[in-house]
């Protein structure tokens, strides 16, 4: 059992460190104090930085070399993430494109799609967003109602509404899941498309969260026309393509550095008058700290597994449960200790307190995650499904019955 790098990993880490020593000074400030306030300027600077990361082999770490990547494995991605965090510099602007959409195009794209999209995506010239979630479908991704209707000339017209879309406001393309056949059971009638975000009929609207910030967007599609060559994977095989994306999403999130930590939360209250002497506060920070330390070492375990050639299973989703609920509890504690000033508009903890309730619901609620883990990891039987094998077009009327 060794928490340290293998010799090859240590050597790789040293190379990354050297590159960062030489280049970190040019990194833009994209969050927190000193951040570039104007969004356009910030995106432009970040785009340049992504290009630089590619040159250094720190972006597209796991992409095959033939598509401009560094051709490494997930463990090297982890090392890069750790060193970026250590150096206090941002990763690529297009975390979603590089981490999920590009890899999905590599797996399911045509040669032409790969040629056309992968280069600009990797270099940050064309940012990609993910157009999966819908207001009506909730956690049930396969229940999307956005319709893509094929025309006589083979092109498709897409109409519907997507939600919770990160980066939509500066994306060139979106990878969109739509229903092309409503007369088959719901997992079967789906198709994935690559949609230009500047196509006529696409409207983007910022979606403000509890804090008042627009963390996400809504995207409305009104008879948006795309060619037959916009299909990613096969018509009717959209669910398979979506599962690939979700697998890359798990990997991307699993290897991302973790934001909240035991030491940060403890530091927030350590100097508040009376806090350190209060046993109730101590029990609470001790409990929260224990959860977060455990989560960190579970991260180490996952990395060890990746290094051994494994792929993170659904159980690593538990890290999200631990992290979010520890952060919620920490928000409560910090607010109680620091008082209403912790709720101030610009306070980092006030922001966290506002941000977490949305996070708890976004990207699959905790309940769905616990279902998945109970079924896929523990092997518990699924809930009875009323929608199995039923044509999608009939589901609605049943629900309303």
């Amino acid at each position: 059992m060794d928490l340290n790098d293998s010799p090859e990993q240590a050597e790789y880490r040293e190379r990354v460190r050297t590159w960062l020593r030489d280049n970190a000074a040019d990194a833009p400030r994209v969050r927190g104090e000193g951040m570039i306030q104007d969004e356009d300027e910030r995106v432009a600077a970040w785009r340049t930085w992504q290009r630089r990361l590619v040159e250094g082999g720190l972006c597209g770490v796991t992409w095959p070399e033939e598509f401009g990547g560094a051709g490494k494995g997930p463990i090297e991605q982890v090392i890069v993430n750790q060193e970026l965090a250590q150096a206090g510099v941002p990763g690529p602007l297009d975390f979603i494109g590089v981490g999920m959409m590009g890899p999905a195009i590599i797996v399911h794209g045509t040669d032409e799609q790969k040629r056309r999209h992968l280069g600009p995506l990797l270099h940050g010239d064309e940012v990609f967003c993910q157009l999966f979630s819908e207001p009506a479908a909730g956690s049930d991704l396969a229940g999307v109602t956005t319709r893509a209707v094929q025309q006589d000339d083979g092109s498709f017209r897409i109409t519907g509404q997507k939600v919770w879309t990160t980066n939509a406001q500066f994306s060139a393309y979106g990878v969109l899941l739509a229903r092309t056949d409503a007369d088959v059971p719901k997992h079967k009638g789906l198709t994935m498309f690559i949609v230009p975000m500047d196509a006529p009929g696409v409207t983007i609207r910022g979606l403000r969260q509890i804090s008042g910030e627009a963390e996400f967007n809504e995207v409305f599609l009104d008879e948006v026309e795309v060619g037959a060559d916009a299909v990613l994977g096969q018509v009717g095989a959209g669910w398979t393509t979506a599962l690939t994306v979700l697998m890359f999403e798990r990997l991307a999130i699993g290897t991302a550095p973790i934001g909240y930590s035991a030491e940060r939360f403890a530091a927030a209250i350590a100097d508040a008058p009376g806090a350190r002497e209060d046993s109730a506060v101590r029990q609470e920070i001790g409990r929260i700290g224990t959860e977060l330390i455990a989560s960190r070492f579970n991260g180490h375990r996952m990395i060890s597994e990746l290094a051994g050639g494994g792929v993170p299973g659904p159980e690593f989703g538990l890290a999200k449960v631990t992290m979010v609920s520890a952060a919620v509890d920490a928000g409560d504690l910090i607010g109680d200790v620091l008082g209403p000033d912790a709720l101030d508009h610009d306070d980092e903890w006030g922001y966290m307190i506002s941000f977490l309730p949305g996070l708890k619901s976004a990207g699959g609620t905790e309940e769905i995650l616990r279902n998945t883990i109970g079924e896929r990891v523990l092997g518990l039987p699924p809930e009875p499904r009323l929608d199995k094998g039923v044509p999608f077009s009939e589901l609605r009327s049943r629900q309303e019955a």
């Binding site: 403000r208 969260q209 509890i210 949305g358 619901s361 809930e383 009323l386």
Partner: protein
């Protein structure tokens, strides 16, 4: 044993509901927040005329001193209604003030009860078994501050000190200040908010419907109110009870909305309310809300029949209702999925209410601590 509402109580509650329905207070709460987001002082719907018209400032004031002479439970009914729609009705500041004036038979009692003078009580907590002195909320941290010092000379009282996070202090004409004299005994004084020795720093934190003030008293001149220590302690418990009622009002308001949504919204081919995870959480909200309602009844009963149990009852109500509010507002967001966490939805407004309220006027944790102190001290609840 009859705990159902009297006809008068039902009338009072329904009248409050109707009066508050005249403006869209929830929309106003969101607009006020827009002001805060752009750095402006929020403009709130002024519900003071509504409150005065309905006689709410004088609810607890005896008839001989110019009020309606109703019981504490009646005031709690109004507080529940106001909170349910996030209406900025300053019950938590005016009713403790009015009750101190009433206990003293003070000459200002009628004007405050009638709403001609807008009075705000500055929250000063009576001693507990952990804090042997009269205290005020700290600006931050856990160490409670000293109550203002009161220098008494005949009817004149000079006050020095600071009372942070005083609800509704910015809009008040008069402040009812509790200070302690050189012997540590509490003294109440009526202070003109415009007095040279008074500074009220208006602050808004997170819930724009709750105006707050950091009040600094530097040789502030006031007139003594002849209320004894019991009356001054009672003001604190009245405030706790009102905050408990507000919390209960919100939780009780949100539950049926969440239940309706859980019946209508489908996922994986079933209404989300048919899933145990959702169902059991909503039942937990019901459980906590019913508990909070029961605790308000305890407050009302103690207030009328067993004043020695009022500290326990008010603290338990604050603690239990605070818990209900916390769980109900989080669950409200959660049941509504991602959409419940967006600015346009009402759920975040109630969440903000919960987040701020739990940290005002002692805070929920201080109330829980007082419950412990009372029980460990041998008080037996009825």
């Amino acid at each position: 044993m009859d705990l159902s509402l009297t006809d008068e109580q039902e009338f009072l509650r329904d009248a409050a509901r109707d009066a508050l329905r005249r403006t869209d207070t929830v929309a106003a709460a969101r607009e006020a927040l827009e002001d805060v987001a752009v750095g402006k002082v929020p403009t709130l719907t002024d519900l003071w005329p509504t409150a005065v018209e309905a006689g709410w400032p004088g609810l607890l004031t005896s008839e001989e001193h110019g009020g309606a002479g109703l019981g504490l439970y009646d005031a709690l009914l109004v507080a529940q209604e106001a909170a349910a729609v996030l209406a900025p009705v300053p019950l938590v500041s005016v009713l403790p003030a009015a009750s101190i004036l009433d206990a003293a038979g003070d000459e200002a009692s009628a004007a405050v009860a009638g709403g001609e003078l807008r009075a705000a009580w500055l929250p000063v907590a009576p001693p507990s078994d952990r804090e042997a002195r009269w205290t005020v909320d700290p600006r931050g941290g856990l160490l409670r501050g000293d109550a203002p010092t009161a220098t008494v000379s005949g009817d004149d009282v000079t006050l020095d000190g600071e009372v942070p996070w005083a609800p509704d202090a910015p809009g008040a004409d008069r402040l009812v200040v509790v200070g302690v004299d050189a012997d540590g005994a509490p003294v109440a004084a009526l202070v003109d908010a415009a007095d040279a020795g008074v500074t009220v720093e208006a602050v808004t934190r997170y819930d724009a419907t709750r105006p707050l003030g950091h009040v600094r008293l530097q040789g502030a001149k006031g007139r003594r109110i002849a209320a004894d220590a019991d009356a001054l302690a009672r003001a604190w418990f009245v405030a706790q009870a009102i905050l408990a009622a507000e919390a209960t009002g919100v939780a009780g308001h949100l539950l049926p909305i969440a239940v309706e949504y859980a019946k209508e919204r489908h996922t994986f081919g079933r209404a989300i309310g048919s899933y145990q995870a959702v169902k059991h959480h909503l039942v937990e909200v019901l459980r906590l809300t019913e508990n909070a309602r029961a605790l308000l009844i305890y407050v009302a009963w103690a207030s009328e029949h067993a004043p020695d149990q009022l500290p326990l009852a008010a603290a338990a109500a604050r603690s239990g209702a605070g818990q209900a509010l916390d769980v109900a507002t989080r669950e409200h967001i959660s049941v509504h999925g991602g959409i419940g966490a967006t600015w346009e939805h009402d759920a975040p407004l109630y969440f903000r209410r919960a987040q701020l309220s739990r940290r005002l006027v002692g805070g929920d944790a201080d109330a829980t601590d007082r419950v412990a102190g009372q029980l460990l001290g041998g008080v037996v609840p009825a």
